[in-house]
Symmetry: C2
DNA sequence: AACAGTTTTTTAAACGGTCATTCAAGTTTC
DNA sequence: GAAACTTGAATGACCGTTTAAAAAACTGTT
């Protein structure tokens, strides 16, 4: 029990520190010592828990991917129509506790590094496939087969593009507005 | 004349080598020596021409930004209607000599590093503003004012999102297909 | 409660290596 | 002969990871 809990607490603390530190300095530039300082720990203890810098990044993304997956499941639970479920996918991506500048920064760093790390590119592939199949499942009910792929690409690329932009922002983001804009884009694509 | 020409030739060679080398290894990881080897030169000579690694990256992006701007101008020259000009903006982004995996990779690295480098973020801001104003100029002729921003964001984020995906691709891209898909997205947004 | 033994957690210091940049001494071009 | 170009080697850092040893947390026993 408590043996497991301490490890979990430390993991979470270190992951939160990673998000902040990577946002401030960029993944390629940030040092283990900086992340450790952000968490009030030592660089060595990060290696104790995560094995390496790459392992820490993988764990951080796993954490965020889980958050995203959970947010999506919650939205699906109450959505009743295909269109509402499309909204739910969007809302999950722009949820209050996900659509923040530091987290979009991390996502950006993740995308940039995934092609050069098997462990990260694996996560990327899995997540993308999951989002893709959610989109397709709902779009099938709303559009003829010939327009499926165009609509899916338009929506999925839109989501990525918004995060990409958000990562460059100097000011705090507005998740409410982002969700509203996303709904308008859905309505534009599915009249 | 020739004094200037040698410098230009070297610049172009080194920039091409940078695109290839950064694509292969990632900007944060690639070394000056690797880029130099790719160009058949020495690391010292890169510093002679570009001053620093950051200067080299800035010059490389300046090169790509110019290519993009020129491709867009050419498209504008023959387009006759607002919708054709929208197509032209898209076609420029997915032009045969721009929409390749190595160049999308560089773009990705550029996005990821821009927040941490004043010189790169300046380029990013300028380019984004230019594309934005092109989109808005054409959309104004096609949509009521209330829908302008939604449509612009949908299109601009779509473009970014496609590049982001392309940077992760293992196989060569298909610019023809990308342009066709982009046209379909334009038609989806502007019925 | 106290204690001795065991496991988990922590970190300072050492290690082994990397790399951007500079410099001085050449080579080529004009 | 001057200016432009090139580069091997030196410089001066920096950093992820390992290690060894101490501290803390836990265990079961008395």
């Amino acid at each position: 029990m408590s043996r497991k809990r301490i490890r979990d607490i430390r993991n979470e603390e270190l992951i939160e520190a990673t998000i902040v530190a990577v946002h401030k300095r960029g993944y390629g530039v940030v040092t283990m010592a900086e992340i450790a300082r952000e968490a009030g720990a030592s660089a060595a203890s990060i290696n104790y828990y995560f094995g390496s810098k790459e392992g820490l990044m993988e764990a951080t993304m796993l954490h965020l991917l889980g958050k995203l997956r959970r947010a999506m499941s919650e939205g699906y639970a109450t959505a009743r129509t295909p269109r509402e479920r499309l909204y739910a996918v969007m809302d999950a991506n722009f949820a209050d506790d996900l659509f923040t500048v530091p987290q979009c920064s991390i996502w950006m760093q993740f995308w940039a590094n995934a092609p050069y790390s098997p462990r990260l590119s694996r996560l990327h592939r899995i997540n993308r496939a999951r989002v893709r199949s959610h989109f397709l499942a709902e779009l099938r009910a709303l559009l003829p087969a010939g327009q499926l792929e165009t609509a899916r690409q338009a929506l999925q690329c839109y989501m990525d593009g918004v995060w990409l932009q958000a990562a460059q922002s100097d000011d705090p983001l507005n998740p409410d507005e982002a969700r509203a804009a996303a709904h308008r884009v859905v309505d534009l694509v599915i009249p």
